[in-house]
């Protein structure tokens, strides 16, 4: 549905995106993940024909973004970073205006308007001026605007910014419900969002794509070892040395007195049973033993950090950080 080939965008000397290539299938939801200034918005602006790329080619539904921009624009719903709302119009007037711009009229327009007002929960504010609405409502009006002509392709630049947690969940549900019938690209720097709604993640940093895969596979691929968190109530003094003797254990980090340990083992080898047996036989007071999977957050940090830091040696530190991380969203694999 969306095909991007080697696009580069330069602003004078500054290269915003550099030979970016990716594609989105019909009905797929793709997350564009990256720190601020990574080139997410630039890529989206090229796809929506707001600006042309310096080099390369992008097509949407088979139409070239540069040469057949009208055909592309008709098929895209776009929510920019700042919701493009006219403060002096009411929600209804605004949606009618946008609908007409996109070629809707008469009964079709009325139906589309009431569908989006309903879908985004704008019923109570539909007669109010957008200028008097809160940030969250404006964001939803912006989404309604992108959806009103029911486009096959949706491009959403940070769709959940400015919403409260309940609204965020609603919008994520909405995006999930669009999957299958719509191709969606959404940019975000909130990682759980990418894991929650997307089938595929593209991580972009410094204008380049540094990784592209499903959220699960990304975290698996970037792991060099399995990590296990272990908590003992009565660890003996030589516990670290004895844990190291278990077959498959590569390394042990830990905080002896508090009883928290982090074990690393070879990929694909589950050492939990051996560890449990050792701890129980010796009556060390085993109270926790769990596999830690790398969260997307770890992957993201790892990929977007500078090259010199990307040595295997820093793995342990990252792993320990994630072991302590309470927001561990990952699913054990």
């Amino acid at each position: 549905m969306i095909d991007v080939q080697q696009i580069t965008k330069r602003y004078g000397q500054h290269t915003a995106i550099d030979r970016v290539t990716f594609s989105v299938a019909k009905g797929e939801v793709l997350a564009f993940l990256g720190p601020n200034g990574a080139g997410k918005t630039t890529t989206m602006r090229i796809l929506t024909c707001f600006m042309p790329p310096t080099e390369g080619r992008a097509t949407v539904a088979g139409y070239d973004c540069l040469e057949q921009s009208m055909d592309v624009k008709r098929r895209i719903g776009y929510l920019p970073e700042t919701p493009p709302v006219y403060q002096e119009l009411t929600v209804q007037e605004y949606l009618r205006f946008v609908g007409r711009l996109r070629g809707l009229a008469g009964a079709v327009l009325t139906t589309a308007m009431s569908r989006e007002i309903e879908r985004l929960g704008l019923g109570s504010v539909q007669h109010r001026l957008i200028g008097n609405l809160s940030r969250g409502y404006r964001q939803r009006v912006g989404l309604a605007q992108a959806l009103i002509h029911d486009p096959p392709v949706l491009i959403l630049d940070e769709p959940t910014v400015g919403l409260d947690p309940k609204q965020i969940i609603e919008i994520r549900e909405l995006i999930k419900s669009l999957a299958g019938s719509h191709s969606v690209i959404l940019s975000t720097h909130i990682l759980p969002e990418a894991t929650a709604v997307c089938q595929r993640v593209v991580i972009i940093s410094g204008g380049r794509i540094v990784a592209e895969d499903t959220p699960d596979r990304l975290s698996t691929r970037l792991r060099h070892s399995e990590k296990i968190a272990l908590t003992l109530t009565r660890p003996p003094g030589d516990v670290e040395a004895r844990l190291r003797q278990v077959d498959g254990v590569l390394d042990v980090h830990g905080n002896g007195p508090a009883g928290h340990f982090l074990l690393e083992s070879h990929l694909g080898k589950d050492i939990r049973e051996d560890i449990a047996r050792l701890a129980v036989t010796n009556n060390w007071g085993l109270i926790e033993l769990k596999l830690i999977s790398m969260t997307l957050e770890d992957v993201f940090l790892k990929l977007t950090r500078h090259e010199e830091e990307l040595t295997p040696g820093s793995d342990a530190a990252a792993g320990l950080a994630s072991a302590v991380n309470e927001n561990n969203m990952g699913v054990p694999s």
């Binding site: 002096e88 946008v98 711009l101 605007q145």
Partner: protein, 255 residues
């Protein structure tokens, strides 16, 4: 075309919700009304003097009231119209609604046309209200309507030119104040070209420069002369300004 209508309707709606139109409209009508009052009272005083000296008076309202009025309204338009046009593109860029327009399936021609037509309609509305001045005068006196109608044609064309320059200035920046000042500057420059032209006199350069200024073309219409050359001047200047606007808006995408 329906999309241009949609845009025009939206722009007019935006104009009428903002206080700018009411303030600018009120000031415009007040100043024009005041100018008309001054010219009429002045003419009346002259008539009384003539009556006393000659016992009868033939006063030409066309010369004494309307020609003066049409000349003065130019100045008012120069000040008022940039205020009306300054928001057209600058505000869209500032509030990021520009992205909505540019990513909607609507051509740049249609966007520029929609912006221009909306402010032109607004201006014609204001101009229409000043029509009350000749209509009221016609109740109490006799004058020739023809030069008044050509004068209004001149004002409409002059307004269209001023507005197109204002639209261009608004496309150049996202700051409304800057947009207003750039259009003031451009309009004053065009005005002063007439002065430069008359300094150079009847030389080829002088004629070319005089032609470029709107002054002589407008004066012809105010005097009741409808000459194709003047109409061509206004039409081509308008097309040029709107074309430049199109290019400027298009080029912002490439930066």
């Amino acid at each position: 075309m329906t999309r241009v209508n949609t845009l025009v309707a939206k722009e007019l709606r935006s104009y009428f919700v903002s206080p700018v139109v009411y303030v600018v409209g009120a000031v415009f009508l007040l100043i024009v009304g005041l100018l008309a009052y001054i010219y009429i009272v002045f003419t009346g005083a002259q008539a009384i003097q003539l009556m006393q000296v000659q016992g009868q008076a033939q006063i030409n309202l066309n010369d004494l009231v309307f020609r003066n009025l049409f000349s003065s309204v130019r100045f008012v338009l120069l000040i008022v119209l940039p205020i009306l046009t300054m928001r057209l593109f600058a505000e869209e860029k500032k509030l990021r609604t520009f992205e909505l327009l540019m990513t909607s399936p609507i051509g740049l021609n249609e966007i520029v046309a929609g912006k221009f037509v909306s402010v032109f309609v607004l201006f014609l509305g204001l101009l229409g209200l000043t029509g009350l001045i000749p209509v009221t005068l016609a109740l109490f006196s006799d004058f020739d309507w023809y030069p008044i109608l050509t004068g209004y044609l001149g004002l409409a064309l002059l307004g269209a030119l001023f507005l197109s320059i204002g639209v261009l200035a608004s496309a150049l920046t996202e700051n409304q104040i800057v947009a207003a000042f750039v259009s003031f500057g451009l309009l004053l420059f065009l005005w002063l070209l007439a002065g430069v032209g008359s300094l150079l006199g009847d030389t080829p350069a002088g004629q070319v420069i005089s032609y470029l200024s709107f002054m002589e073309h407008y004066d012809h219409l105010v005097r009741g002369l409808v000459d194709t050359r003047d109409l061509v001047y206004f039409a081509s200047a308008l097309v040029l300004m709107l074309f430049l606007t199109h290019r400027v808006v298009d080029s912002t995408r490439w930066k």
